[in-house]
């Protein structure tokens, strides 16, 4: 394991994704990726009392599913790295309490899955852990309540607004051979182009995604075509246009290989999701379903996953501040 270039780590002793699991809500299940998820829960409360409880239950059942798919118990796991969008990470705190596994709670807005997999890989590659779980989740209703309006409030969403994904995706990262290997990471920095429109998160995050992808290509000495796909987390349609334009300015064309989890997970025409899906659970559940299955089917050799986060706080936004962005890149390769 060594630091290379400006912001990347290359793993010699590559950590592996040993198992993966994803559980999503009804709307996500009705989307184009519906057949790839492990479970689709029709009950938006997931059997819980309130939206926060619902997200905790979503996390708990995804981790249980992950352990049962891997034929393991919680004693086989050294650490969990998990995050969500709620204050004090309450969805993760209550969702993970029964597993009794040492926890690193992470907050990177919607980039959390990238952050969790990055740090989990470093733990495993350094020998500090044999097996860790990296996980991220979001719930449409708990996110709306935290960041926007009550669900029943009648307002109009802009075209540029995204739809927070109800979903959780979790992976087991292990030093033992697994389904996919993690060969490198590129850690994002805060990138702020001063945009204040919280209903256009794609535009707030696109510069961060462009920066991380640019650094990844430079640090590893690669061209976009060295990847079968470059997946960003939740830029949506507007963010995608901006990302491609920003990288073109630097002489890099990713238009042939770029995909966005937020674009993949919903059908914009049928599901009225405006610019696309968003939330930590968007890139996490898309990776732990569609992307992993493409690897298993031999369709991907190497991809770059770049979960993107808009660090929006209602407080700083009311105080007149911009919405800064961050994006963390992880390179996955077929075994």
């Amino acid at each position: 394991m060594q630091h290379i270039g400006k912001a990347s780590i290359s793993f010699d002793n590559t950590p592996y994704i040993q198992e993966y699991a994803s559980i999503v809500g009804k709307k996500e299940g009705e989307g184009p990726l519906g057949k790839y998820f492990d479970e689709i829960n029709e009950d938006s409360l997931f059997g819980g009392d309130n939206w926060e409880d619902a997200e905790s239950r979503l996390i708990e059942s995804t981790i249980s599913k992950l352990l049962s798919k891997a034929n393991m118990s919680s004693t086989d796991i050294d650490y969990i790295l998990s995050g969500d969008l709620l204050g004090q990470l309450i969805a993760s705190s209550f969702g993970l309490v029964n597993f009794n596994i040492p926890l690193f709670g992470l907050y990177g807005a919607c980039s959390t899955f990238g952050e969790a997999v990055s740090l989990g890989s470093v733990l495993v590659a350094s020998g500090a852990a044999n097996r860790v779980i990296a996980s991220a989740s979001s719930h449409f209703a708990s996110a709306e309540k935290t960041f926007r309006f009550p669900l029943g409030y009648g307002n109009q969403r802009k075209f540029s607004a995204t739809w927070t994904t109800t979903g959780c995706g979790s992976v087991i990262i292990s030093k033992d051979t697994g389904k996919v290997k993690i060969t490198g990471i590129t850690t994002g920095k805060i990138v702020d182009y001063g945009l204040k429109d919280k209903e256009n998160m794609g535009a707030c995050m696109a510069p961060a995604a462009a920066d991380t992808i640019y650094n990844n290509l430079c640090d590893f000495g690669r061209n976009p075509s060295d990847y079968d796909k470059i997946f960003t987390g939740d830029l949506g349609y507007i963010g995608q246009t901006i990302l491609i334009d920003l990288l073109r300015e630097k002489g890099i064309d990713i238009s042939d290989v770029h995909s966005d989890c937020g674009i993949e997970i919903f059908d914009i025409n049928l599901q009225d999701t405006h610019a696309g899906g968003s939330g930590c659970g968007c890139s996490a559940s898309t990776f732990c379903s569609y992307i992993m299955k493409q690897f298993e089917a031999g369709k991907f050799k190497r991809i770059l996953l770049v979960p993107t986060g808009a660090l929006l706080s209602p407080t700083s936004s009311n105080e007149g501040n911009s919405v800064p962005g961050i994006a963390h890149g992880v390179v996955f390769e077929a075994v």
């Binding site: 009648g154 109009q156 802009k158 001063g194 945009l195 256009n200 510069p207």
Partner: protein, 147 residues
């Protein structure tokens, strides 16, 4: 690209809704709500109520219906198309209060509903009272000099 250039570039690539369509839908939705209100008032007057009382009953019915429709998950669907037409009439105010009550009920009667019921409607109440007081004061000064 500096902040200003980025902002105008983003504006260029972000699709917007048609102002004409929004205004037409708002006119239609707001108009229908107000028409219903007027029909109710006329009906109550015909039934022999005083105009003032008829207006109070009409308000009561519109507010009740808006809150009922909010609870039934219907008002927000109308608002998606109606926009300002469903926001501006008294029904929009009722929706903003009702939706907060429903959303924060789980946090308890006092800290949930009690503290948060006027999260959206609060500014309307505050500045509504403030501007009425201001206008009242101006009117009072006017009456002092007009006699």
């Amino acid at each position: 690209m500096d902040e200003k250039e980025y902002e105008s570039y983003v504006k260029k690539v972000t699709p917007t809704t048609s102002l004409a369509k929004n205004m037409f839908m708002a006119f239609l939705a707001g108009g229908i709500i107000c028409l219903i209100g007027q029909v109710l008032i006329n009906l109550f007057i015909k039934m022999g109520l005083e105009k003032e009382t008829a207006i109070n009953y009409e308000t009561l019915i519109l507010v009740f219906s808006a809150i009922l429709l909010t609870g039934l998950n219907v008002y927000q669907k109308l608002a998606k198309h109606g926009g300002a037409g469903t926001l501006v009439p008294i029904t929009g105010f009722a929706n903003s209060v009702g939706s907060c009550a429903i959303e924060f009920k789980k946090e308890g009667q006092v800290f949930g509903i009690g503290c948060k019921i006027f999260t959206i409607a609060g500014p309307v109440i505050l500045y509504g009272l403030f501007s009425s007081s201001l206008l009242g004061f101006i009117y009072w000064i006017y009456t002092l000099f007009s006699h």
